[in-house]
Symmetry: C2
Subunit: 334 residues, 2 copies
């Protein structure tokens, strides 16, 4: 029900998703009276598509505490319950990120060995794309938390990209071991001994160079970098647009340059990278960008489905049990 | 002597600077045998330009400890000594940033009331430009440090832009007071009571929107944001260039678009923003980007000269004395 456009975007995306992936089924969670008419008279997907009614909706800017306490029949809460009871293998929402994290954590709980869930996003790089976490769930992180982010990020890349031993970099203000604050220095030591393919410290520009497949940082730094990057890209785009529309001559140049600009946009199309993962929970929850269009939302659905196929939470729990043998390896019966 | 290009860039920049500002004199500090020939046979500037010999040079990637301990006759060290003894009113270097900060701090010391110096840079924004600090000198900051950065940044903008009460924003992961880590929350309280024109929390994208004249953050976050932004801008520039040089048609479009691209580059010309300020010292020290060309280096010279005219360190000390009346207001005789 969430996001800037609501079911008018998410429902067509689910149709596309089901057409392209005949093994999957989808449950639309939300107000039945809104969702049902959007399905139309056709029964194209039969039992593969159903609606699960939820009477409430968490608003985009609603405080987390209010969403958690007063909306026990929100689409978000009901969706998380469906994952917990095993009816759904993965959940995806384009709604309020803070509420989604709080509700998911409250309903699903964290995996053994994971202190805090983290949000991992995909960013385009000069070489392809990289995964960055945490992007805002945890503002004060210990070295052990950063290690856990490294483990979760590495397994996320393995699951979604089918790659063995992706490289993991630690975001810092210099490549040398002596740089950075105490927590980051300690995290580097833990990552070195973790068995992960740790490639050492990376700097801010390395995110875009694609130096590491996974970039680990605390949620404060990650959130600031992500928002700053969005702001810079917007400023550049707007600045170019203004220069191209300055007069008749520049407008002519714009027409000539249009295919080039379009090719460039395709190359760094952020819609293809939609679908942030809420990692570390006893269940799979993905977050779509609120402004996602139908194509972007489908990309996020495909990521969530792949994470479910690859049984990502079980793999994270197993890996944490190897790192910390005292942890109970088997997640609680969900 | 420092920077990627050394005196071949800095000497012509000094010539330009002296021609445009007849009230100023310049002292070139470095190897006389290198500098003297670059001055040529003309005595255009008479006593306004002189060379002060220093036998050593701090290398660009030399460890700070080595620069500080073994190079007591480096151009950087001698330059700081000239500021300390009052022979020079301001210093500018394009060399090793870490060494410049360490040497300046060792020679000049910090102002009363300032625990740690900070590095402030200017970034282009959609509205003009903003000042961001700290950009790498301090990785672990207390709330009081962030307050001091706010005071110094505000006075820097007043000095260089001749503006009363510039707005000061605190970099955070949300606009609400409850967001962020404990240090940032405490810093917001201190800034509210500081008498500065504090406009509250700002987020990563606000840096580029120009929401505040001064953006305050710790050196870890500031450094990561700065480097990440440089990396993103480079990736976008390179991506556009590649798309424009793909084939004959796109190359033709590139020729048509060239005046537009040039106008855009002029608008966000980072050279015009060259000259980061090492704030909080008993003396004025500026840092030029290592890759600065002659125009960029002159811009940094002009900033350093203006900070000296405005007696920036005295203003910072006076303001800190008002905030903390127990501090000895008068800097030690330099």
């Amino acid at each position: 029900m969430g996001g800037d456009h609501g079911p008018s975007v998410t429902v067509p995306a689910v149709f596309d998703f089901l057409r392209r992936d005949p093994d999957c089924t989808a449950i639309l969670v939300g107000r039945e009276e809104v969702l049902r008419p959007l399905l139309g008279p056709t029964q194209e997907f039969g039992a593969r598509l159903r609606v699960h009614h939820a009477s409430q909706v968490v608003e985009m800017h609603e405080p987390v505490a209010s969403a958690l306490r007063t909306k026990k029949d929100s689409s978000m809460r009901v969706m998380a319950d469906l994952v917990k009871e095993g009816t759904a293998n993965a959940a995806l929402s384009a709604g309020n990120t803070g509420a989604l994290m709080a509700i998911s954590r409250f309903v699903l709980k964290t995996l053994p060995g994971i202190d805090r869930p983290a949000i991992a996003s995909i960013l385009p790089t000069a070489r392809g794309h990289s995964y960055v976490l945490d992007l805002g769930a945890n503002v004060d992180c210990s070295a052990e938390h950063l290690l856990q982010f490294g483990v979760m990020g590495s397994l996320l890349v393995s699951a979604l990209e089918h790659r063995d031993r992706p490289t993991v970099g630690l975001l810092n203000i210099g490549e040398e071991d002596i740089k950075g604050n105490e927590i980051v220095k300690q995290a580097a030591e833990l990552l070195k001994d973790s068995g992960l393919n740790f490639c050492g410290n990376v700097e801010g520009d390395d995110i875009w160079k694609g130096t590491a497949d996974v970039v680990v940082c605390d949620g404060f730094v990650g959130n600031v970098v992500l928002k700053s990057s969005e702001g810079l890209a917007q400023m550049i785009a707007r600045g170019l647009k203004e220069e191209f529309s300055r007069n008749l001559l520049t407008r002519l140049a714009a027409i000539m340059a249009l295919p080039v600009i379009r090719a460039f946009k395709r190359r760094f199309d952020h819609r293809a990278y939609n679908g942030a993962s809420l990692l570390g929970l006893k269940g799979i929850v993905f977050k779509s960008h609120g402004s996602a269009d139908s194509y972007a939302f489908r990309c996020a659905l495909e990521r969530a489905a792949e994470a479910a196929r690859q049984r990502l939470p079980e793999k994270i729990a197993a890996r944490m049990a190897v790192l910390h043998p005292s942890i109970n390896q088997i997640p609680d019966a969900a």
